[in-house]
């Protein structure tokens, strides 16, 4: 894990989309700082730019202007290959739709970030099994996604996001497809991992319940950050 105070930083980031002649300013001069080990929620109404913020901060999407630093490294200045490599090594992703490879087993899904980072097949399998153990799916390692429940699939996705021990984990509506009980389980898992491993989580969510569990909530509207709510208790826990 990188030793730096800031896990991610955005400076005056702009991002707009042009769809059929209509320009939408998805991010409009967004600046923020996320500390190492933080558990941050990004909230706001639909279309406010929160997913775009996650995409650009994580390097999934390019920006039109501004700067982004991840663990002090200028992500915005990296070429695609370098950015991809960086993502594989220092970031994890959790998606609302789980985004597991339907043709791979749970273990194979979890192995992917390791294999792509050059870890050997045997070592990758060992670490994948450990990650699956951590998310309590030891008995489902050989199952394909369609043989798992929604909660189990999301836990596989979490294991995949964490198996590389990334500095920062991006989660886009991680509980959006889950019922309340399973959502709770998944959130507990994220909280536990954040607390025990000190990994930074940035969660995009609609769910105020999720927001209440984080130590900082960033509010967005019309592509801008309109407010930040710190929860000292959570912050203390996270720190």
């Amino acid at each position: 894990m990188l030793v730096t105070e800031l896990a991610a930083e955005a400076r005056e980031v702009y991002k707009s989309y042009n769809t059929e002649g209509i320009t939408v300013h998805a991010l409009d001069s967004v600046s923020l700082q996320i500390e190492q080990g933080a558990l941050v929620a990004v909230m706001g109404p639909s279309g406010c730019g929160k997913t775009t913020l996650l995409n650009t901060l994580s390097g999934l999407d390019s920006i039109d202007g501004g700067e982004i630093f991840i663990a002090g490294e200028p992500l915005h200045a990296m070429r695609d290959a370098r950015r991809t490599e960086y993502r594989a090594r220092y970031m994890g992703f959790i998606f609302q739709g789980y985004n597991l490879m339907p043709v791979l087993t749970a273990a194979e899904n979890v192995e992917l970030p390791l294999l792509v980072s050059g870890v050997g097949v045997a070592a990758a399998r060992k670490r994948a099994l450990e990650a699956l153990h951590e998310v309590r799916l030891d008995d489902r390692v050989g199952y394909r996604p369609n043989q798992l429940s929604g909660g189990q699939q999301q836990r596989v996705a979490i294991a995949r996001a964490l198996v590389n021990e990334p500095a920062i984990v991006w989660a886009d509506e991680p509980t959006g497809n889950l019922d309340s009980e399973t959502s709770r389980e998944v959130l507990d898992l994220i909280l536990k991992l954040n607390r025990e491993n000190g990994q930074t989580f940035v969660i995009v969510t609609h769910d105020p319940g999720v927001g209440s569990l984080t130590n900082r909530t960033i509010q967005m509207q019309d592509g801008k950050i309109v407010g930040t709510v710190e929860d000292p208790e959570q912050a203390a826990r996270g720190a």
């Binding site: 996650l54 995409n55 999934l60 594989a88 609302q96 985004n99 339907p102 294999l115 886009d172």
Partner: protein, 994 residues
């Protein structure tokens, strides 16, 4: 079908708009689907137009070489194509019996009523040598067809008398020469040409050069004559020494034009044969050749049929491609379709939606395919003409096939293509329309019902029971198709039923392995082997069963196939992420992978079988080169004028021949009959014995008298010999001491190639009879020559006896053959030319083994190359199919690709993963096709061709090159989709994230 679809479209304007909208909405998709779908139509159209072209060639041949002649009656019994002895003449009893009136009268009791004949023309016909003075050099041909007819009768022959009859009758010493002869001997009106007959040479003045049209183009079957020379009846009689009032040939014209008359040919031949049965005597034996029918039908063989059979594999591959494409299209639009179903549309509406779209694709594809097929046919005709040009000078005429496309064939190709494509679309539409609305909208995997629907269970039970019933009937009735297909259906039915209790992989592995083994070994059953030999359709059925069974076996065991890749992943970690995904997709999408594998395997199967055929023929010809002509290198055969007076002297005097020749041997062959066996009881490899032997006639055979020199040097190996001989050599040498011993050439197995032959072997006795004098000689069979395989040059024929027995038939009409042994390193072409120049004037024909085998091999190689080029077009199905599937996969897997990019896959890794995935599937398909093709080729040679001398040769290098070539082509075809995949941005992972 078209009316039904169009009618439905008119009634459902909204669905029509919705369905057809996709054509313009996704233009590239439309192009890909049309290309994939049109290949089958193109191949059908190409094959049918090729049939049109060869049919026109045959019709032209019939028109040019026969005209109004439908049957030819001669008194010679069965003759080999190489038999150039004079045709015996006959007199008044036959001439007055075979008349149009008598034929009509005699045929009154036939089932279809009396047959009408509009001409019977007596003629004197014989191949004679012809010479002329060119510009300062002697020009000669060993074979011009002399035809002597009464000019007035010629003008009344048939409904469309031959054009030459419009010329003034040739006076004494005048002749009309055909264009072929005129070209070879450089003749023009007024030139002199010398013809040599039994009475000696006679000079004729050319009264005119006539086009080869009907009788002025007449040649007997397999003749190498340069063309006819028409003279007055009396002149021919004088040249050939025939008596007044005699002829040796009757040309019969059936009522109707050049091609229509052929319909009654069988009845006319039967009637004439029956009339002749009443007049013939003294052992005379007539044959009535249905020459027109043979020329037009070529023994029922149509080259386009072979291409159609070969195309069937590509067409089936095309059908699999269409199904694959439509299933993918449906999967891609699953959400859209689910919403349509949710909003208002019934299942039948979804079917209509797909059918309308599919019909439009099918229509465009079948029209484009028919046009492309015209191009294919033109290329095939050009290729065939190149192949046949190797034989043009041997047959002395133009063998070029004209390009001809009949509108009916084009319509048939378009309709067949439309029907096949549309049916594939329709069946697929039924399947894809059966979707779960919720799963479709939410993009969830289709849930399988826990219990099998009763209807499906009943259908599976019916398949099993039906398969059993077909098997039982097939074995009882010895029906090859039922014997092959019945057990396969039963096995699949049984498999479906067992799948209720047994896991899929072991179950289908066992079923597919069993089907593969059965389809391979089914040729052990004679009925299956016979069907395979006689019907190209059987070759298709057994090939398809083997290929599909192999594909099924591999598809269910891909994990084993990929085992080696796992090792590679361990050894080269950088490849691990690429291979992991590249392998996982095909393994998970079993039907899609299976269909894609089958596309490649089906076409590679037939490519491999044709390559095996060519290589085996090549090897046989190479191996048997020395065995042809009993170890000699060439032969000179005397013509109708009898022996060449001083063969050895002529060779000695010609420096070119003297230096090249190391030894000669003179053989003498005459026609005998085996009275103990009736020709009617036997079939030959080329259908009924040549010349439709008269009812009750004995088998015609040749007796060949050979000198000691031949017996001491022949390299002919024996397949069996009397036990007292310790070696083949001993057996051969025993013949020179004992004139009661004979050696049989091949085959004496109850069938024969050109002549019918009984089953005889060492130790049997055989009675030979002179058909003219009735003299008989009894011999003991000392042994039988082994079939050397390859091209049988057929000079040493029938029953071989020492020359010491020559004279046992006092008046045997013989043909002489001089065998030549050439020294090493001689210029084959130069010697061939020298031989022709030296002996043509005497009417002798010559050939060299090297030359003939070379031409034969050129023909086979060119033909196989054409077949493979034709199939290369079929490979477009596989390659284009893979490109289409890859392109659709990129679209279908954008979200997955986005996720891979998000978790760290570089652009290049994604691209490589797609390339590796596609190329692995194509590689496995190619390997299956080539492997099963190797088995199919082996099967063909073991069970169907049954040529004991044929040795199975697998063309490793050629197949490796083809395999690699196809693989590279498929790799190239998937580069574009792979690049597109690599360009999918990682943000796609979230865009489709719900």
């Amino acid at each position: 079908m078209t009316l039904a679809v169009l009618g439905s479209m008119l009634r459902q304007p909204a669905l029509r708009r919705l369905g057809l909208r996709n054509l313009s909405r996704r233009k590239w998709n439309t192009v890909l689907v049309v290309v994939g779908s049109m290949v089958g139509t193109a191949l059908i159209s190409g094959s049918l137009v090729l049939n049109d072209s060869t049919s026109l060639f045959q019709e032209n041949e019939a028109r040019q070489t026969l005209g109004e002649i439908d049957e030819v009656v001669q008194q010679t019994g069965q003759r080999l194509p190489s038999d150039r002895r004079p045709i015996p003449s006959f007199g008044e009893p036959v001439l007055s019996a075979v008349t149009p009136e008598n034929i009509q009268e005699e045929s009154r009791d036939l089932e279809g009523g009396p047959v009408e004949v509009d001409g019977v023309l007596p003629a004197l016909v014989q191949e004679v040598p012809a010479e002329a003075d060119g510009d300062g050099e002697e020009l000669a041909t060993p074979a011009a067809t002399l035809i002597g007819v009464d000019w007035e009768s010629l003008g009344e022959f048939g409904s469309e008398p031959p054009p030459v009859s419009g010329n003034a009758p040739p006076g004494p010493g005048e002749a009309y020469v055909s264009e072929g002869i005129a070209e070879v001997l450089e003749l023009d009106t007024g030139s002199a040409v010398t013809l040599t007959g039994q009475t000696g040479p006679e000079e004729f003045e050319v009264a005119g050069v006539v086009a080869e049209d009907g009788i002025s183009g007449y040649r007997s079957q397999f003749s190498s004559s340069e063309g006819p020379v028409l003279v007055d009846e009396a002149a021919a009689r004088a040249l050939l020494g025939t008596d007044e009032g005699e002829a040796n040939t009757l040309f019969v014209s059936n009522e109707g034009g050049v091609t229509e008359g052929v319909e009654d040919s069988e009845e006319v031949a039967e009637t004439v044969q029956s009339i002749l049965g009443d007049v013939e005597g003294d052992g005379a034996e007539f044959q009535v050749n249905q020459v027109k029918r043979d020329t037009i039908e070529q023994g029922g063989f149509q080259i386009g049929d072979i291409f159609l059979m070969i195309s069937s594999f590509a067409i089936l591959a095309g059908i699999l491609l269409i199904i694959n494409i439509y299933v993918m299209l449906a999967e891609e639009r699953k959400g859209e379709l689910g919403i349509l179903r949710a909003v208002a549309l019934k299942r039948s509406g979804l079917v209509r939606l797909f059918v309308y779209e599919g019909y439009a694709y099918s229509l465009i594809a079948s029209l484009v395919g028919t046009l492309v097929g015209l191009g294919i046919a033109a290329a095939l005709v050009q290729g065939l003409n190149r192949a046949s040009s190797a034989f043009e000078d041997l047959f002395g005429r133009d063998l070029a096939v004209p390009f001809n496309a009949e509108p009916a064939s084009l319509l048939a190709a378009t309709s067949a293509g439309l029907l096949i494509t549309f049916l594939a679309v329709f069946v697929t539409s039924l399947r894809v329309s059966n979707l779960n609305i919720v799963s479709a909208i939410r993009d969830l995997p289709e849930e399988r019902p826990q219990r099998r629907p009763r209807g499906r269970l009943a259908a599976q039970a019916l398949l099993f029971a039906g398969g059993l019933a077909v098997s039982l009937w097939g074995f009882a009735a010895e029906n090859g198709y039922a014997m092959l297909i019945g057990p396969v259906l039963a096995a699949f039915g049984f498999g479906f039923l067992l799948s209720l209790f047994v896991p899929a992989r072991p179950l289908w592995s066992v079923v597919s392995a069993a089907v593969l083994a059965y389809a391979y070994f089914a040729n052990e059953f004679e009925a299956v082997a016979v069907e395979n030999e006689e019907s190209p359709a059987m070759f298709f059925v057994s090939g398809v069963l083997m290929v599909l069974a192999a594909v099924l076996l591999v598809t269910f065991n891909l994990s084993f196939v990929y085992g080696g890749l796992r090792l590679l992943m361990r050894l080269v970690p950088a490849l691990a992420p690429i291979l992991r995904i590249a392998v996982a997709h095909p393994a998970a999408k079993r039907s899609r992978t299976g269909f894609t594998l089958a596309m490649f395997a089906l076409i590679l199967y037939v490519v491999t079988v044709s390559a095996v055929f060519s290589s085996t023929q090549n090897a046989a010809s190479e191996r048997t080169r020395d065995a042809q002509l009993s170890g000699y290198d060439g032969a000179v055969q005397s013509g109708p004028l009898g022996s060449i007076e001083d063969f050895e002297g002529q060779v000695e005097e010609n420096p070119g021949l003297r230096d090249a020749t190391e030894g000669t041997a003179a053989l003498s062959a005459g026609g005998v009959v085996l009275p103990e066996y009736e020709a009617d009881d036997y079939e030959t490899a080329f259908g009924p014995p040549i010349g439709d032997a008269a009812p009750g006639a004995g088998i015609s055979e040749y007796v060949t008298y050979v000198p000691d020199g031949f017996l001491g040097t022949t390299t002919d190996e024996l397949s069996e010999r009397l036990p007292e001989f310790g070696s083949d050599r001993e057996a051969w040498e025993a013949l020179s001491e004992d004139t009661d011993l004979v050696m049989l050439t091949f085959p004496y197995d109850g069938s024969g190639d050109f002549l019918a032959r009984p089953e005889l072997g060492a130790g049997d006795t055989i009675v030979m009879q002179d058909p003219v004098t009735g003299e008989e000689a009894e011999k003991t069979v000392a042994g039988r020559i082994d079939n050397p395989g390859g091209f049988n040059l057929g000079v040493v024929n029938g029953i071989i006896v020492s020359e010491r027995a020559e004279g046992e038939f006092t008046d045997l009409q013989a043909q002489e053959t001089y065998l030549l042994e050439l020294g090493g390193g001689v210029d084959v072409e130069a010697v061939s030319r020298e031989l022709e120049d030296e002996f043509a004037a005497a009417g002798a024909q010559s050939f060299l083994v090297e030359d003939i085998l070379g031409r034969g091999q050129v023909f086979i190689d060119t033909f196989v190359n054409i077949v493979q080029a034709f199939l290369a077009f079929g490979l477009v199905v596989g390659v284009a199919g893979l490109a289409v599937i890859s392109a659709r996969s990129v679209h279908e897997r954008r979200r997955e690709i986005g996720t891979l990019r998000a978790v760290g896959f570089k652009k290049s890794t994604v691209g490589w993963q797609f390339l590796v995935e596609s190329s692995l599937v194509s590689l496995i398909g190619i390997v299956i096709g080539i492997s099963v093709g190797a088995l199919g080729g082996y099967n063909l040679f073991n069970f169907v061709i049954e040529d004991p001398s044929a040795e199975y040769v697998f063309p490793w290098i050629q197949m490796a090159l083809i395999g690699v070539g196809v693989w590279l082509a498929s790799l190239l075809a998937t580069i574009v989709p792979a690049v597109r995949a690599s360009r999918v941005p990682p943000v796609e992972a979230l865009r489709h994230g719900g």
